[in-house]
């Protein structure tokens, strides 16, 4: 639950900022996507201000390298080291628990899983596979799960939809729910809104949750997730934002801004006061 008052009156201690990518920096699409007006300059300004900045995305349609190249092409100052995405986090989980996944992921994300043992699978790992979410592929994943004595379903994110240039588009969470329902299992989520995911990014910046802020367009995964570890959560009215989000039954963002530019301008004006 958000405290009362304006969010920018509570941001004097902010040392680090986490930014969602899709819907905050740019809208993705078949032709590479387009930057959201003001966002390129906002990232530059934020970095020049001396604040720590990391990019927290549930993007699993491509590798981090590919994503960074795409964002650079749109004019954003982003390095690979600053990007936190679910695939590397998932690889750590697999390794820690000796899991051999049956993968249902986007072909362009495959390189992130190079070297992972996928023989004789003992879990199913899904990402935003888009067109790979065919009946045949989902049924294969389903059969692996029902064949396991202790079915483990790992989902890279649980988003419902995101915005593409041609409209809102189904995200991995929908197919996670379908498999959960089919097999009576509960998926483990790697990526937002899992607490561990936010904490890893904060640790990398060396910033406490109370000194950090998340800016995102997904009320549950960005805002709810950030607030669950004690960060401020700021919702932008770009990307997948819909007016209903301002009356969400369980998540109450600390503030709403029209776009990233407005968030950064207000933050920099009020910081350190």
């Amino acid at each position: 639950m958000a405290s009362s008052g304006r969010w920018y009156d509570r941001c004097s201690d902010i040392q680090g900022v986490l930014l969602d990518i899709s819907g905050v920096l740019y809208d993705s699409g078949a032709t590479g996507g387009v930057a959201i007006p003001g966002s390129v300059e906002a990232v530059t300004k934020l970095k020049q201000s001396g604040l720590s900045v990391r990019f927290c995305t549930n993007e699993t349609q491509c590798t981090r390298d590919h994503l960074v190249a795409k964002l650079s092409g749109l004019g954003f100052q982003v390095t690979r080291e600053e990007v936190f995405s679910p695939a590397p986090a998932a690889c750590l989980v697999l390794k820690d628990r000796n899991l051999r996944p049956h993968l249902l992921i986007h072909p362009d994300c495959q390189p992130e899983f190079e070297g992972v043992d996928c023989s004789n699978p003992n879990c199913v790992l899904i990402g935003d596979a888009t067109d790979e979410f065919s009946y045949k592929n989902l049924n294969e994943a389903f059969r692996v799960l029902v064949g396991l004595q202790d079915p483990i379903l790992i989902s890279m994110g649980k988003g419902r939809y995101y915005k593409e240039t041609d409209g809102l588009t189904l995200d991995v969470g929908v197919f996670m729910k379908a498999l959960e329902y089919a097999c009576d299992v509960e998926a483990e989520v790697v990526g937002k809104p899992a607490k561990a995911f936010f904490l890893a990014a904060l640790q990398d910046m060396g910033v406490q949750p109370q000194q950090a802020m998340m800016v995102g367009d997904d009320v549950v995964n960005d805002i709810g997730g950030a607030q669950s570890v004690g960060m401020l959560g700021l919702q932008v009215r770009t990307g997948k934002y819909r007016p209903e989000d301002e009356h969400h039954p369980t998540v109450h963002p600390d503030g709403f801004v029209d776009n990233l530019k407005q968030a950064v301008d207000l933050l920099l004006q009020h910081r350190g006061q």
Partner: protein
């Protein structure tokens, strides 16, 4: 008081109203003036390609009673005509207009709502939607359609739902058995779309109250004047009783010992077979 509660319930969707309405009804078949019998097909009249013992003859006897008969079934794969052909081959005297399926219920709902559905159905089931306008769709109907449960069509459905289109599910089965193993049913895809959009699907098949009411409406009988015979204690008997009908559970098909304990209130009565259920009903009718 009875009609007041029913009126309140029907007009305000008030749950308390419904409870009051349900409580005000008798549950004993004896006290009812019987008007109609609803009969499940698979597991009750037949198991795969064999009629249950005595069922063909029992149906003939049932028809000699002054009762209306309708056959009700959850199907997503077969059109009504295909079902009827199969039953006639087994010797049953059944006409297509006497069969009410979950596909029929979906079609009726689509017509009532005056919507143009995007149909997730196999070709074999599409027959039941002949003549329905599906151009420029503004509703989504989900049955079993492995060829359509792919990302693009699901995304099209998702966008329709976000635009306010209603979601209609033939039923929500998790999976079904195919010759090469278990396969995903409509339920997971309905559930996924519900999660994506916060839209709740209207499920039209058994055990939904609406399904039984629709079937009875075509007969002009009220639920309290009707009895359902079936082998599925939840979908047939429990569903019918919730809708205000009497329910007879038969010990054929998917029946397992102890099934009668699974619903509250319990089945109105339990019979060994469809034949015995018909005897029970005919006796009651003769007594009143």
């Amino acid at each position: 008081m009875y009609y007041t509660a029913k009126y309140i319930a029907a007009n305000t969707k008030n749950e308390e109203g419904w409870k009051l309405f349900m409580l005000s009804k008798g549950r004993c078949l004896m006290s009812r003036k019987l008007c109609a019998v609803l009969v499940d097909l698979s597991g009750t009249l037949h198991v795969e390609d064999t009629a249950t013992p005595g069922a063909v003859e029992a149906l003939r006897r049932l028809r000699e009673c002054p009762l209306k008969v309708k056959f009700v079934t959850n199907t997503t794969k077969e059109s009504k005509q295909m079902l009827v052909n199969r039953l006639q081959k087994l010797g049953f005297d059944i006409q297509p207009e006497e069969v009410f399926t979950s596909l029929t219920a979906a079609r009726n709902l689509v017509e009532e709502m005056k919507v143009r559905p995007m149909l997730f159905l196999q070709d074999s089931a599409l027959q039941d939607f002949e003549g329905i306008d599906t151009t420029n769709p503004n509703a989504v109907v989900i049955g079993l359609a492995p060829d359509m449960f792919n990302y693009r069509p699901l995304n099209d459905a998702f966008r329709l739902l976000l635009g306010g289109a209603p979601l209609i599910a033939i039923h929500k089965a998790r999976y079904y058995k195919k010759s090469d193993g278990l396969s995903l049913g409509p339920g997971p895809f309905v559930t996924g779309l519900e999660y994506a959009t916060d839209v709740r699907a209207t499920v039209v098949g058994k055990p939904e109250t609406m399904f039984f009411r629709e079937a009875l409406k075509t007969l002009g009988c009220a639920p309290e004047e009707a009895v359902m015979i079936g082998d599925d204690v939840r979908d047939d008997v429990g569903g019918a009783q919730t809708a205000g009908m009497a329910g007879i559970l038969v010990r054929t098909g998917k029946y397992r010992p102890g099934d009668e304990e699974k619903i509250h209130p319990p089945p109105t009565t339990v019979c060994d077979s469809f034949t015995q259920a018909v005897d029970y009903i005919c006796n009651k009718v003769l007594q009143t």
